[in-house]
């Protein structure tokens, strides 16, 4: 069966164009990062990575990501369930509201949190009277990270759940299955891959966020410095190798994430073939 664009010349031409463009546009920057990181040899790279402040930054970054993901997961699933399974007034508005983080420049996102929870903010000054400080400590970093990452899971799930429709769940209701069982047995298997992909994107963004975090972190070395902030500081301080060593770690986390995603998709595809 012949399909559009199946002629061998067209096919080769298009593949070549896509691979070339992707290599120049996406792969080359990645290669450049690793080259810079190892510009002065493996020893210098390792010395920069095993530095006490780099280690603390890695630890904080992973810690924030680990806390962010479940929050985004619960919110994303709840929201997707709500807007795809029920019709109610304001549904479209709600769906647009969750895009706010896409629409707000990250620095502004950090700023709005600072204006609210900072020393002069109305909530911040109230908390301050109880000697609770959210900004310039990890809870502040966590809050803004959740802010910038929360749309990802929902954005992955909504189109899929919309396309799949609710027939299967409705059938389960008719059979008298309780809500949680329906979700676990019927919905979850259907959305599993989209859910994982959402988590992967959330993780990638949570690990790499700079703009918003830089505003609320206070950048105290060893305490509130995340890996992207640490990287920026090293770069500012003329430690290019150190900066790119940190950058390569972030790129590595990104690549591992992407590899995880690719292998998931592969397994999913294989499963479908077997089924």
């Amino acid at each position: 069966m012949q399909r559009i664009g199946d002629a061998p010349t067209v096919r080769r031409l298009l593949i070549a164009a896509a691979v070339l463009l992707a290599a120049l546009f996406l792969l080359l920057p990645l290669v450049a990062i690793f080259l810079q990181a190892f510009a002065r040899g493996v020893d210098v790279f390792w010395a920069n990575i095993s530095n006490q402040y780099t280690l603390a930054a890695i630890q904080l970054t992973l810690f924030i990501a680990v806390l962010t993901i479940p929050v985004c997961l619960v919110f994303g699933v709840a929201l997707a369930w709500l807007v795809t399974r029920f019709r109610f007034p304001g549904r479209r508005i709600l769906q647009t509201l969750i895009d706010i983080p896409f629409a707000v420049s990250p620095v502004v996102a950090g700023l709005v949190y600072l204006l609210l929870y900072g020393r002069n903010g109305w909530l911040g000054s109230w908390l301050d009277s109880y000697d609770i400080q959210l900004m310039f400590a990890w809870p502040g970093i966590l809050l803004v990270t959740i802010f910038v990452t929360c749309p990802f899971v929902a954005r992955e799930l909504i189109p899929l759940m919309q396309a799949q429709g609710s027939r299967e769940e409705e059938a389960a209701v008719t059979l008298g299955a309780p809500g949680w069982t329906i979700f676990r047995r019927v919905t979850l298997p259907n959305i599993r891959w989209a859910l994982l992909y959402g988590v992967i994107l959330t993780n990638a963004r949570a690990v790499g966020e700079f703009g918003a975090v830089s505003v609320v972190s206070g950048a105290i070395r060893g305490q509130t410095n995340t890996l992207p902030l640490h990287l920026e500081q090293l770069y500012q301080d003329y430690n290019t190798v150190g900066a790119f060593a940190s950058a390569s770690l972030l790129a590595l986390i990104a690549l591992l994430t992407l590899a995880a995603k690719a292998s998931l998709e592969w397994r999913a595809a294989r499963r479908e073939v077997h089924a």
């Binding site: 603390a56 630890q59 810690f63 680990v66 806390l67 600072l114 900072g118 020393r119 002069n120 903010g121 911040g124 301050d128 109880y130 000697d131 609770i132 400080q133 900004m135 310039f136 400590a137 990890w138 809870p139 830089s214 505003v215 206070g218 950048a219 105290i220 070395r221 060893g222 305490q223 500081q233 090293l234 770069y235 500012q236 301080d237 003329y238």
Partner: protein
């Protein structure tokens, strides 16, 4: 409420292992909020001060550092970052804290030399053998010269460059406003790239090969020359330039809250000691301690340093007239 312990517990629970660093042995912690290129400087000074304090008081302390753009750093303190001391490269950023009541009103009188233990000026970095023959500010308005310095709108470093050029023109044209404005207009038009900070400007000049001259703090251009090869670049200190103060102050509200007033005061005073001044000179900053000044005399050429007050009245006035929205800088950069 401090979140450190909670975080450690959470990490331990989440990861199921004791990844967290051991509890701090130090009795007290001092937080120094500083500008972004001072990381290595304070990494050198802090251990010396810690040893000095322990020898004198038998108390073990720890010093935490926070680095960033100096305005962003001051903003963080305004919004609640509990730094005990500030060591900035902008007088205005300390003044903002004083205006908010976090730093003493007379902070500039509390320590010698306007509370500025070290200072610098604005200087040029040119390529090998100075091919364009750049010696002073009037060489920079020539048509064949392109320069790189950070945006005065986003960087204090850039503001000093602007003021130095202004001070020079003001002298040159004997205060004739129109001629000064013309000079500044040409000067600003000769900028090849306006990076947001000193580091970005350096990258543009060194790694991207843009422009004939990089303008930055004298300490910076010397450090850059050391970093990127002293054979490829030359430092030119113009005969007239601006005095750039590096002010320090105690954030009294925070130091009191943290019970660190004595420590904060001692830390700032330590920056004036011979030991610290020698380290500062080693990082190419100009210092006040006479013995150290003599020792490093050949590193710092004699030059006429105009104060910001001589150029524009006061920092408040300068910020208002020149750098504010709709100010002279905006006017001069208009198409």
């Amino acid at each position: 409420m401090r979140f450190h312990t909670l975080r450690r517990t959470l990490i331990a629970t989440a990861l199921g292992i004791g990844l967290a660093t051991p509890a701090l042995a130090a009795d007290r912690e001092l937080l120094n909020s500083s500008y972004d290129i001072a990381r290595e400087l304070f990494a050198a000074i802090n251990p010396e001060f810690i040893a000095h304090w322990q020898a004198e008081n038998g108390e073990e302390i720890e010093i935490q550092q926070s680095h960033g753009g100096s305005s962003a750093q001051a903003r963080a303190i305004l919004q609640g970052l509990r730094a005990d001391v500030v060591t900035y490269n902008q007088v205005t950023d300390v003044q903002v804290l004083a205006d908010a009541g976090l730093v003493a009103e007379d902070w500039q009188q509390q320590l010698p030399n306007n509370a500025s233990p070290y200072y610098s000026t604005t200087a040029f970095l040119v390529r090998k053998d100075n091919p364009k023959g750049i010696e002073s500010w009037d060489d920079l308005v020539r048509e064949d010269v392109k320069m790189v310095f950070p945006n005065p709108k986003t960087s204090g470093n850039g503001r000093y460059t602007y003021l130095a050029a202004w001070g020079f023109a003001d002298q040159q044209f004997d205060g004739d406003e129109e001629q000064v404005h013309d000079f500044m207009r040409t000067f600003l038009r000769n900028v090849a790239v306006f990076d947001t900070g000193g580091r970005g400007a350096t990258t543009s000049f060194i790694e991207r090969g843009i422009g004939d001259v990089l303008i930055s703090f004298e300490s910076e251009v010397n450090n850059i020359r050391q970093e990127y090869g002293s054979d490829d670049y030359e430092v030119i200190v113009p005969p007239v330039s601006v005095l750039a103060e590096f002010p320090v102050a105690m954030v009294e509200a925070n130091a009191e809250r943290n019970g660190n007033q004595d420590l904060a005061r001692a830390y700032l005073e330590y920056l004036y000691s011979e030991e610290a001044q020698r380290m500062l000179a080693g990082f190419n900053y100009r210092v006040h301690h006479e013995a150290v000044v003599e020792e490093f005399a050949d590193r710092f050429p004699e030059t006429e340093l105009l104060t910001v007050e001589e150029i524009g009245g006061s920092w408040d006035e300068v910020m208002d007239v020149h750098f504010g929205s709709g100010g002279l800088l905006d006017e001069l950069q208009r198409r």
